[in-house]
Symmetry: none
Subunit: 325 residues, 3 copies
């Protein structure tokens, strides 16, 4: 679809969140279609996890985003979908790869939302494809268990914070979940949640460096808990780490099913977003260093540094591998 002014920031770059939402919609369509391809109980595919995603090049207003999706692995109860986004300038004809994302879906019965159904297996062209898929499946399963632990954290407001401290840029947003945010089962689309998360992360980044910013990547996101129509969701973001040219922001989503439900507020999703700061000409700018004050902030900064170095090392290894081929 054509990118509109409302999809973009003041500098005309389309928000990462808009792209994430389109990716998720494509993933939800292909996996729901696949899971209903054999006679049996009708179901809706619910997003369980998005793998780490890099935004390779910014998209601008007026460009057309082409989204294509393919099922690359199925386990007994889950589907792996690969989604590619190309942006196309229809005036010049230029095309660029914007994103490659991997998403995991789980089929939930339309009659009983707590029942996970079986996934029809796909055919693999080669045996190795199945083995590689299985390896990815095991890895993400392990990773999901890990992040579940981290999910207890809270963000408290700080009064009169100094510039460049964590408290100075931290932000939160509340949203009342309406019908258009939801699937046929009455639960929030994963893509809607990701769009809101990106919005908060973007505000945190802009508050920190007071320049035009764009999403560079999103760490793996796990959707542990469903969010029901009519809930109020609070999306909070705080900066955890800065390198010379990037910022890492942790985002939490808490749901409050306050009508018709005896349930307490709960943590539904959390994730790390990485942003870069851009000059008016679109060149990367240096980022002011994050000032950490408490022990927790210092610990999170070190953890962020660890993730940053790990990603950097991984990327260098990939580039060397590519160079050798």
């Amino acid at each position: 679809r054509i990118m509109r002014p409302d999809d973009a920031n003041v500098a005309g770059n389309v928000h990462g969140g808009t792209i994430l939402k389109m990716i998720e919609e494509a993933g939800a369509i292909i996996s729901t279609r696949h899971c209903n391809s054999q006679a049996g109980e009708p179901c809706v595919a619910a997003l369980a996890r998005v793998e780490r995603t890099d935004f390779l090049s910014p998209v601008c207003i007026g460009e057309v985003a082409n989204v294509s999706a393919e099922i690359t692995y199925t386990s007994r109860h889950s589907v792996e979908v690969q989604v590619n986004v190309m942006s196309e300038n229809i005036l010049t004809g230029a095309k660029k790869v914007t994103n490659k994302a991997t998403l995991w879906y789980v089929p939930l019965s339309l009659k009983n939302v707590n029942k996970v159904l079986e996934v029809p297996p796909i055919q693999y062209a080669r045996k190795e494809q199945e083995d590689e898929g299985k390896k990815r499946y095991e890895e993400q399963k392990l990773d999901r268990l890990e992040t579940k632990q981290r999910n207890g954290d809270l963000i408290f407001p700080i009064i009169n914070p100094e510039p460049h401290t964590v408290g100075y840029s931290q932000s939160s947003l509340i949203h009342l979940v309406g019908p258009s945010d939801c699937t046929l089962l009455g639960f929030v689309h994963g893509g809607v949640t990701m769009k809101l998360m990106d919005e908060v992360a973007g505000i945190v980044a802009a508050r920190h460096c007071k320049t035009n910013i764009v999403t560079a990547s999103v760490d793996a996101i796990n959707f542990h808990e469903k969010i029901k129509k009519g809930s109020v969701i609070t999306i909070s973001g705080r900066m955890t780490f800065t390198s010379n040219k990037s910022m890492e922001i942790e985002v939490f989503v808490d749901a409050d099913p306050f009508v018709d439900e005896p349930r307490e507020r709960y943590r539904a999703v959390s994730a790390f977003f990485t942003y870069v700061s851009l000059s008016k000409e679109g060149k990367p700018l240096p980022v002011p260093q994050l000032l950490t004050e408490t022990e927790d902030e210092k610990r999170r900064f070190e953890e962020g540094k660890g993730r940053y170095l790990q990603t950097k090392a991984k990327r260098q290894a990939q580039m060397q591998q590519a160079a050798q081929q």
Copy 2:
């Protein structure tokens, strides 16, 4: 894309206007891409005309609409695009043809919006294709001239009208044209206008028969005048004709470029929509006859009857032809 609750009426049927908007977006993308495919002045394709469109089967919330577009003819200054819409129930896998629409676009220079550029010619597989396209081109050109005449009409409000009269159901809507409604040139997308026209026509139809209604077809629409960002547009609709099971509604779009422009209000578009009334089970219901009072209303009723009988005759001829093959 997946159809959402907001795309549909209370009975769950997607508004014809949502479909028309998707069709036009697809047409604008493919024709803008084609017109920029050769080095030269960059341009944006502007909608000039939509041929008569039948809504063959209703689309429901939760279904996926698949839109495909193809360029079928080019004249020196215009492009004919054929757009097909299929709706797919991703739970059952059932697919249905929803629409086949033909649209005409004209390339306008990005630097000078009043300059119409030349269209790169397409290659035809067979000579007959080009001849048939040329015939369609000549026909629509003639038809555009004709409707331009009709465009002087105005709708005056009636005080305390009786049920089933023209004055009882006539309705109008104003809309302030925002950035998201517009192309890169700062003029309203044809699809946005058509969506608003369908909205008004639907309200007229519902006011007349007080039941659930759906768009059955849209007569050819000509876009004589561009509408600029920041304009206020008034969309007015009045019923012109009823058969046993259908209603014809005439819709006018008037634009008022009131900020920063010396220009008077002008008629930008007009068209005829046909609606049918449906029971809760989705079966067509009889429509209360339209009560005509003035001479003009009686004349328009007879003209509507003429269009209705002509369309009916054409459809029967097509069915006989199909039966003979």
Copy 3:
């Protein structure tokens, strides 16, 4: 949330209606949460009244609006909420108070929409807070009774009106109430209605003075009647009074529950909006005087003048009080 291009007019100022909608959403969330805080019948808080609201400074595209809400009084069946809106320019860090609004909500049972439930009492820090709240409660109750009387008025269209007459700028808009406009109970959010009212008032103001205009204040609005999903609402506005630098516009909302309901069209809401005209540099411009023709128009002009002088006197008294402290 970040203000988008579609939230704003051509000059980049965010529509008052967008702010009103955000205020109401915050009020609805906090009061629904409070009314469900004790075990008992689940309920949804419905907007009953908004007190007079001044727009203290315009908000621009790209700024972040921070909305905070607090419950300031509870009677047996109603909740008073105070909402503050700050706009923040995240590039410069500058913050401004945009709005302070007071809203009244009533808890309606989720099982039976016609049943008003009891509100859990809040604790007051000081006895005077309770007394002051009670006084505000009594005042608004009285005022609600009064405005109910006024609600019989109708707007009739005028043919070929002269510039600067009432008939020249009066406007009306119809809107089909969709799912996203509604609460869990299936009734229109008060904020959605206010946004549409501001849209019509803005068009009336722009038609009168043909310049860029912004909302300066909204008089108290009472929501006497609920509006159901699937209704068609007609929002009509007419100018009632002009001072040298401001315009007062009266706006009516009529609902037509035409599908599946035997009920006649009814007046749901009415209110007065005040607008000012701005030059390209954002300075207030003189407003052309409203030409009144009929007796009713002259009477309404005098009434508007009364409200204008009263508000002016009140503001001067407040400023003197502030100066003495």
